[in-house]
Symmetry: C2
Subunit: 112 residues, 2 copies
DNA sequence: CATGCTACCTTGTAACGCAAGGTAGCATGC
DNA sequence: GCATGCTACCTTGCGTTACAAGGTAGCATG
């Protein structure tokens, strides 16, 4: 399976985009986020996620608040900042743009 | 422009896919490839491309042959191997799959 | 109070993109 | 036939990132 590496590059590329999208309407904590991503066929470990979330938080795209759990240690619930919403809007556009690029390249192949 | 970094991650993710797609029907050498990618809105430098092409060639996805130029030094023209074609078929499917993931995540946001 | 589960986080490694710098073939003009 | 410049190839060093593995600590349960 030689394509494996290229495929995981593609998945990795959209990871941040998907996370930001997932946080658009709901506060979510890490384990929940992992489940949601898994449901969308994107496998991630928490060792990947923690640094990523903390990076996004330092960039003022995300914010969090501590919420006590009824069954265990407290959780950090993340949500988008206002700036995060602006970023998401840009990302949505870029995603369309990138889709366009890919389409163009694949169309090019077929017509020539 | 905080989204910049995330956007370039997305672009980077599909770079290999686009290159393999572009080589599907035509032999191409590096400078030409850069132009084609630029036309599809993907900016790349040759310092990025050379290691990448050589990696793909070592994986037997690409092959090349030397072609003398009428106006300068000889060029390496790359094309897909048979195995490369199989990989491309897999990548096409994965691309659809990834699109599905993104769609699902964005749909999820809107309906909830 | 010991065990286990859950949640947080850090460290080390390897891969990759990219800017910068380097080599060499070939054409052109003097 | 030599100097200059263009084109094409390739390498090196740096910073970023994903990921596996390992670590800490709160809280519940028997």
């Amino acid at each position: 399976m030689k394509a494996k590496n290229t495929i995981s590059q593609m998945r990795r590329g959209i990871l941040e985009f998907c996370i930001i999208s997932l946080l658009a309407d709901h506060e979510v904590y890490t384990a929940e986020l992992i489940d949601r991503l898994k449901a969308a066929n994107l496998l991630v470990t928490d060792g990947t996620l923690y640094p990523l979330l903390s990076r996004l938080q330092k960039s003022d795209i995300l914010q969090y608040r501590w919420v006590e759990s009824e069954s265990g240690p407290p959780r950090k619930y993340y949500s988008l900042t206002d700036e995060g919403r602006e970023v998401l809007a840009e990302l949505d556009l870029s995603w369309l743009d990138i889709n366009g690029s890919v389409e163009q390249i694949r169309r090019g192949n077929k017509s020539e």
